[in-house]
Symmetry: C2
Subunit: 379 residues, 2 copies
DNA sequence: CTGAAAGCGCTTACAG
DNA sequence: CTGAAAGCGCTTACAG
């Protein structure tokens, strides 16, 4: 197994020039659509190119111009709905401008993100769209910027990073939904989310920090932003949240979320939640699995808010309130920002916060303590 | 808005060489890890590179070696589960080998696919992973091959294309599932799938072609392969399928699928199906929407087979039989094949057909004519 | 093991 | 408007 040699002797600008009887500089001007050329020469060169089946080598052009017309994308995990949808938006915008998009996954892991950015920079991408892991330092992103590589942040924002961002109003959407639950009479609303890393310690410390007003929503991870909205809604209604109902699932997994919800529903009736806020898609899936495994029904036994664009809502009994994120639009906007920066836009950095859409399917449901439920047959 | 100038004067091999007091050739050998170099020189060069913050320019290397360590992916639509999952597998394998992957979407449209391939070739990708639209000609793929660009096909196979492929055993999985329905006593099994383009004309003509044995399952589109399995299962059980129950939805849309299923369930009771085979994820979603909008239940009113990896199965009452495709593995395999070809593997072309997994949730359900159902409130 | 020279396929000033 | 020459940042033979 010998390593494949260089690619077939592809036809270059030199051969086109020879056949057209012009210099390579002239052929280049016609083929690359830069500089001047007369109609006659243009026809001759184009014809020669057609006859030879000339295909420009963007590598060579990129080496000279310093622009590759390629952007790099650092997604968390392209197999998740969120990033898949965002990537589609990015790819569409890139393509319309003749750009390619290199996709990498970080799995929300800083080392992998760093590695990915390194690879992308070596490939000389003109810009980067990234969902940063580290919202404080991210020296690799600052280094990319220093290397003239434009950066646009998506979903999350690094503190003081001089780069555009496109995010969702997590806090506002959570506040809205939890507010609706509170208005419907719920006072025991569970909050189940990943809430993995935090700069504030545990939930109690976070609440304390919020109370002192030192929490800047901008620099929080999305799930913490959602918790912030949850807390604000409680504050505004004068309902004091029960800390035991705020669950940090920790692992980003359906199974862990299901177990967390089962635990909540096994609490003493007086302490059991009457409503549940599921912090993201995985949590929603786990919550639904837990609920249906107990033979409970939404919203009769339990009210449910899912922060997730629920494709499966059509199949589920009503009563679910869903937060639908404009993910595709986020991708498009991020790419548009990036391409405009690459094209030379030096205006002030934009931090766009898109509103999420709240979709209620049927009534939100009464605040009635759910039965413990009987595990149903696994089917 | 002036176009950004060339990127910052990044440090090149020349500067590293100067600082280390060696020639650029030597510096290149150390930095690029090719050719010989003494330990002492190696240290000097590496140190100089570190001090200067040298970052290799893969563009320049690619121009010389003719290898970019980049692969191109032409997906149908990255925002669909299928391609998102496949892409994840591809990206993982690529990354492990230091390759990047440029993603493009064809929307199953030949012109877009052609355009995408053209862009990728101009970017000098070393190889291409593609879900081809045109299973017969695909001259652009043959041209790519001719240009020394390796190709691996995924999900679908072009006739006589000298390239590896990784596909799913659509026909076998469909035959298996439909066989189970037939064994359970169903004789009126509806088949709802996109079945858009065909080289055989309508369904009747396809059936005739199958009967004469001129249908090579390899060269069929997946949905037609599934129909083939459906027909074979019927043939083996001696049950004659009712052509009116085989619905070509045409459009690849949930709404169209829902309408198709509503129409089936509005048939005269004697002609109404007792079971339904939904040909893919969109069709499954549409079918479920139709069924639940009529207030019907699976599998009591209607048995259902979904060719789809149903994430939402946890939320739905039991009785659904799902075909789970090993999509992630397909992506991984395709990338592995491609990288081995790029590395010089010249062995015979591989056409791997992966088995799909059949997941039954509860019993398949009785063959009982479903009630017409009453439309339930939209909720 | 190291260095001087040539060159990958293009674009960019600079003359004409 | 066109052409001769230089060069982007590397790697590749080829001498030594």
């Amino acid at each position: 197994m010998t390593v494949a040699k260089k690619r077939a002797d592809s036809v270059t600008i030199v051969q086109v020039a020879t056949r057209a009887g012009v210099s390579t500089a002239t052929a280049g001007r016609v083929l690359g659509r830069y500089g001047y050329s007369s109609d006659e020469i243009r026809d001759r060169v184009n014809q020669a190119a057609d006859e030879l089946g000339y295909r420009p080598n963007r590598l060579a052009r990129g080496l000279i111009t310093g622009r590759t017309q390629t952007i790099g994308v650092v997604a968390g995990d392209i197999s998740s709905d969120f990033y898949a949808s965002a990537m589609r938006g990015i790819a569409d915008v890139a393509r319309a401008d003749g750009f390619g998009a290199i996709l990498t996954n970080s799995d929300e892991n800083l080392d992998l993100e760093r590695e990915a950015v390194q690879l992308l920079l070596e490939k000389q991408v003109d810009g980067l769209i990234v969902s940063p892991c580290d919202l404080v330092e991210s020296p690799h992103l600052r280094a990319a910027l220093a290397a003239q590589c434009r950066v646009v942040q998506i979903d999350r924002v690094v503190q003081d990073l001089p780069a555009d961002s496109v995010t969702v109003d997590n806090r506002g959407a959570a506040k809205d939904c939890v507010g609706r639950l509170l208005s419907a009479g719920h006072t025991r609303i569970a909050f189940v989310a990943e809430l993995e890393s935090s700069d504030f310690g545990d939930v109690a410390q976070f609440i304390a920090a919020v109370a002192t007003g030192i929490v800047g929503p901008q620099t929080l991870y999305p799930s913490w932003q959602r918790l912030l909205g949850y807390l604000e809604a409680h504050r505004d209604s004068g309902v004091r949240p029960d800390l035991d109902l705020i669950v940090r699932v920790g692992a980003y997994s359906v199974g862990a979320a299901k177990q967390a919800v089962l635990d909540l529903l096994a609490l003493h009736p007086a302490r059991r939640p009457t409503a549940l806020f599921a912090g993201d898609g995985k949590m929603s899936t786990g919550a639904m699995a837990a609920i249906s495994s107990l033979g409970l029904t939404v919203p009769d036994d339990l009210s449910l808010v899912c922060f997730d664009d629920l494709d499966w809502m059509g199949f589920v009994g009503g009563g679910i309130t869903a937060v639908v994120q404009p993910v595709h639009q986020m991708g498009r906007m991020a790419a548009e920002f990036l391409l405009s920066r690459i094209a030379g836009d030096e205006s002030e950095f934009r931090h766009v916060v898109l509103a999420a859409q709240i979709a209620e399917r049927g009534s939100i449901g009464p605040a009635r303590t759910p039965a413990r439920g009987r595990p149903t047959e696994p089917r």
